[in-house]
């Protein structure tokens, strides 16, 4: 979310996203554990370069170990296989499912590290700007998205307020979807009213697709170097490990 001064943060966001998606594609297309582990280590190098302090990184990574264990457990206990190792209730762990569990959970962890690398070094505004200039994203869509992003904290606050209001009135629902209605309906109504105001405000200020820009993101030689280097390293990892 926040930008810092690391090398990764100075790269062009669109190029960075493209590179990371390429690494993800490599991860998807391999079903060999050593390759996946090698790419995972590579992703770990990426996270280490993201310019976050070690304590912040550890703090951010702890929740993901839960997800890792969960993915591992789901594949191990519900995967198919012949040689049974352990069975309890509807859980059944076999040798094959255990091997697959390692593969899928490692791949998932590599995905997590790649996305942390991206999120930690990318400012959303710069990212959208570079999508406009490098990927020809329609301008009205892009600015609409930016306006929407500004409302994430407001929406979170709104949800909190609604829940507190429900609690103080002792409104409890029997079914989960009643809770969903009680929270989503007021949230959607207010967001529709707000978005209409925003649209009017933007049009009143002559917002239009042909416009000039304060900052115009460009693809530099460093971006090309980064793309080429990461792609060649990961591709050779994929082919030769």
């Amino acid at each position: 979310m926040q930008e810092n001064n690391s090398l990764l943060a100075r790269l062009n966001p669109a190029v960075k996203l493209g590179t990371l998606v390429y690494v993800m594609l490599l991860l998807i297309t391999t079903s060999r554990l050593p390759v996946t582990v090698a790419l995972l280590l590579f992703a770990a190098v990426g996270v280490a370069c993201s310019g976050w302090k070690l304590s912040t990184l550890v703090f951010r990574l702890v929740p993901y170990t839960v997800l890792f264990l969960l993915t591992f457990w789901m594949m191990a206990a519900f995967g198919k296989g012949e040689t049974e190792l352990w069975a309890f209730g509807w859980f059944r762990i076999t040798e094959e499912s255990l091997a697959h569990a390692w593969l899928v959970a490692t791949r998932m962890l590599a995905f997590v590290l790649l996305s942390i690398t991206f999120v930690a070094t990318t400012d959303p505004t710069r990212f959208v700007m570079s999508l406009i200039h490098q990927c020809r994203l329609p301008v009205r869509l892009a600015y609409g998205f930016l306006a929407g992003l500004r409302f994430i904290p407001i929406f979170r606050q709104a949800i909190r307020t609604i829940r507190q209001a429900r609690r103080i009135r002792q409104q409890r629902s029997i079914w989960p979807w009643q809770t969903f209605f009680a929270i989503s309906l007021p949230l959607f109504t207010t967001s529709i009213i707000r978005s209409e105001r925003i649209a009017i405000a933007m049009e009143a200020r002559q917002f239009q697709p042909d416009r000039t820009y304060y900052v115009r993101p460009v693809v530099t030689r460093v971006d090309g170097l980064f793309f080429g280097l990461v792609c060649s390293i990961t591709t050779s990892l994929r082919l030769f490990v």
């Binding site: 998606v21 993800m24 998807i28 951010r60 929740p63 993901y64 997800l67 969960l70 993915t71 789901m74 594949m75 206990a77 519900f78 995967g79 198919k80 509807w90 859980f91 094959e96 499912s97 697959h100 593969l103 899928v104 791949r107 995905f111 790649l114 996305s115 991206f118 999120v119 959303p124 009205r140 869509l141 609409g144 998205f145 306006a147 929407g148 992003l149 409302f151 994430i152 929406f155 979170r156 949800i159 979807w177 969903f180 929270i183 989503s184 309906l185 949230l187 959607f188 109504t189 967001s191 529709i192 009213i193 707000r194 978005s195 209409e196 925003i198 649209a199 933007m202 049009e203 917002f207």
Partner: protein, 191 residues
């Protein structure tokens, strides 16, 4: 894109972002449930993750709305630090394409309960294709896989399509949607 009004674009973005924030809470809820009941038991929850497409497409009723809404909701998940991260973006793309195909099949004309539920089911298909390739669903036992898939289809139709229909119809009653395609459609029906 030129036929879109500014307010239609903004309302699509805002609703998609709101859905993304809801998805985030839903993802947190999903973790403990899926650990206990496994991929089958937790999948009744699936439908909520595809609600952005039918919701926005029903309000705007224009080509592309379903796809863009789902991708935007997924992007919000990415930037707010969801535990699904970049894979949320890819799966959002798969789900959005699925939902969009459903509306394409009816020629962006009949936005009724059936079409919306169909889009929820097609989003489930898109998500399943992604999970088979990426999340190793092919390694699950055949019964687990079939149960998961059928549960996702039902959940996509009910929690995705039907719920979106109910929500938008209640939103229309509040009068906030009078200036959009769905409000006009209801007014025509009433007249």
């Amino acid at each position: 894109m030129n036929s879109w009004k500014m307010k239609e674009i903004i309302v699509m973005m805002m609703l998609a972002v709101a859905c993304g924030v809801l998805y985030l809470g839903w993802s947190t809820l999903w973790l403990p449930i899926s650990a206990i009941f496994g991929p089958v038991g937790a999948n009744w929850m699936f439908g909520i993750w595809v609600i952005a497409s039918p919701l926005v497409a029903y309000i705007i009723q224009k080509p592309g709305a379903a796809l863009i809404a789902e991708v935007v909701a997924a992007a919000v998940e990415l930037f707010t630090g969801s535990h699904f991260g970049l894979s949320a973006l890819l799966i959002g793309l798969a789900q959005g394409i699925g939902a969009e195909v459903a509306f394409l099949l009816v020629g962006y004309r009949n936005f009724n309960t059936f079409t919306l539920m169909l889009s929820g089911m097609f989003a489930a298909v898109g998500s399943m294709v992604y999970s088979l390739v990426v999340n190793g669903f092919a390694y699950y036992t055949t019964t687990t896989l079939l149960l998961t898939f059928s549960l996702q289809l039902v959940s996509g139709a009910l929690l995705g399509g039907l719920l979106a229909k109910i929500i938008v119809d209640s939103l229309v009653k509040t009068g906030t949607l009078n200036g959009y395609a769905v409000g006009r459609q209801q007014k025509r029906r009433a007249a």
